[in-house]
């Protein structure tokens, strides 16, 4: 915990050295991601709903996924850019230190400009809850828990995708395929997709369990409690699996670079 605190403060100090730049980066990063939601907003301004989901409910799904993504990128930038370590061979150094390699990779850098991503996601979520007539103190407690669970789920998916780099060295294109595109697919109600995609988003890259299923329960579209606890069920399966795969990858790792 002491190491975490020290590195957190060091990262914060270095990134806030140029304050104006830092604040602009936060605002512009948030705005760039928000432009994705603006497109949904424009589309839905022409229609009453999307497959039975109104704008407020879709805003909440987006908000939970993006909020989780923002938290992951704030703390997990090192993991997200893991291929830089395998490509340069810098991962070798981490293997000889008496600290978990996952922790070391995670602690490399905190990216504070992602606060803008979290900020816009929470803003969209609050307005979405008001629009969908769901805003209440109880709802917002559940909403905050869902964002944290979403961040954990995104972390475990990304840990699996990073572990692939132990075999393939590069993994950025696999990230586009399995993380970026699946995350974007999870912004929208699952019932607009074909069955195959529904299965992928529920069981293989389970992004839909982070927001779509819990929101189905919270908006009264299903009364199955399993929908509400779907992110917890996913985490029970995926978190140990992701760490196991990482360990296997570590054993397989053969250095690169010069």
């Amino acid at each position: 915990m002491e190491t975490f605190k020290a590195l957190f403060i060091a990262s914060l100090k270095s990134q806030t050295e140029y304050r104006f730049n830092f604040i602009m980066d936060i605002i512009l990063s948030g705005l760039a991601i928000f432009s994705d939601f603006m497109i949904t907003l424009v589309i839905l301004s022409n229609f009453k709903d999307m497959a039975g989901w109104n704008l407020g409910e879709i805003a909440l799904i987006y908000s939970i996924i993006e909020g989780g993504w923002g938290i992951f990128r704030l703390f997990g930038e090192g993991l997200h850019r893991f291929q830089e370590l395998t490509l340069s061979g810098r991962f070798d150094v981490m293997l000889i230190r008496p600290v978990s390699t996952v922790k070391q990779v995670m602690l490399q850098k905190f990216q504070f400009r992602r606060l803008g991503v979290i900020g816009q996601a929470v803003g969209v979520g609050i307005i979405g809850a008001l629009y969908a007539d769901m805003a209440s103190p109880g709802f917002f407690v559940v909403y905050c828990i869902l964002i944290v669970l979403s961040a954990m789920l995104i972390f475990s998916v990304n840990l699996i995708l990073s572990a692939i780099a132990f075999w393939t060295i590069r993994n950025e294109d696999i990230l586009v395929l399995a993380s970026y595109s699946m995350r974007t697919a999870a912004y929208y109600p699952l019932n607009i997709y074909a069955d195959f995609v529904k299965i992928v988003l529920t069981f293989i890259v389970p992004m839909a369990t982070a927001a779509y299923y819990p929101m189905s329960y919270l908006s009264g579209k299903t009364d199955s409690i399993f929908a509400l606890i779907a992110p917890i069920l996913s985490l029970i399966v995926f978190m140990p699996l992701s760490f196991w795969l990482w360990k296997q990858g570590e054993k397989h790792y053969s250095s690169t670079g010069s």
Partner: protein
């Protein structure tokens, strides 16, 4: 003629450099196809089984294939990377000029993207999602309009590169580029779905010249001459602006790396 041959040699090198990562790009293209599939699913859910749906499927998938030519170009037209490693120092000394050199470098990159990304994504769209082929008399104007779209996109990316030369940081410039491009290029929504005055403004922006206009030429929904006039106007304006800004930025250029 000599300068043109030098430009082609730069393009050829850029093309060959990309070929090293062909397998990665194939994986990436599948990810990109999924983004197109998400857009298609959204429009199918909204429009149902109407004749408009089929045109919209073609519109979003042609745009999705085209983003690798008219949106996702290397950050800051390679300039940011060159500022970081210091090789920009050699580029500004070359007799052919920075704009000319980066243009041909990007042209090689985009030609690679056309062969190994555009065509595979388009074929997947045609085979799986039912994308309609263009009328024969629309094909040549479409290719020309797509090329003009690339030139506009190149200049916009070049400005992001100049931003990096000026501020030694690309985050802000890239975020502004992504936000404006994402919202105004009409990749996912055609102009008629924009609210109020944006409906009239959007087609006239340089951003629409990269995706919306070429795809409307493909579909035969815009007179060719109007399309070329809008794109030609922006190429002229952006080209002049690029010359002026390059001269200004080069005077204050700080070289890093080495």
């Amino acid at each position: 003629m000599k300068a043109f041959r030098a430009g082609l040699a730069i393009s050829k090198n850029s093309f060959s450099r990309n070929r090293i990562y062909l397998l990665n790009h194939i994986i990436n293209s599948v990810g990109s196809f999924i983004f197109g599939y998400i857009a298609v699913s959204i429009w199918r859910a909204l429009l149902g089984d109407s004749p408009e749906t089929s045109a919209m499927v073609t519109y979003v998938m042609v745009n999705q294939a085209g983003v690798w030519i008219t949106m996702f170009l290397p950050y800051g037209a390679f300039l940011f990377q060159k500022v970081n490693d210091g090789t920009i120092a050699f580029d500004v000394l070359r007799p052919c000029g920075l704009i000319y050199m980066t243009f041909f470098e990007m042209l090689g990159h985009v030609f690679y993207n056309f062969v190994f990304r555009y065509i595979p994504i388009f074929c997947l769209g045609f085979l799986i999602l039912g994308v309609e082929l263009p009328a024969l008399n629309h094909l040549l104007p479409y290719i020309l309009s797509l090329f003009f779209g690339f030139v506009i996109c190149y200049f916009l990316n070049y400005f992001v590169g100049l931003w990096a030369l000026k501020f030694l940081n690309i985050t802000g410039g890239q975020a502004i580029y992504y936000t404006l491009m994402n919202f105004f290029n009409g990749c996912m929504i055609p102009a008629e779905y924009y609210p109020g005055i944006l409906k009239q403004i959007m087609p006239l922006t340089p951003f629409a010249g990269t995706s919306y206009i070429p795809t409307y030429v493909y579909l035969g929904k815009i007179p060719f001459l109007s399309a070329f006039a809008i794109q030609g106007f922006w190429i002229l304006i952006l080209g002049c602006l690029a010359c002026v800004l390059t001269a200004k930025v080069q005077k204050t250029l700080q070289i890093q790396g080495g």
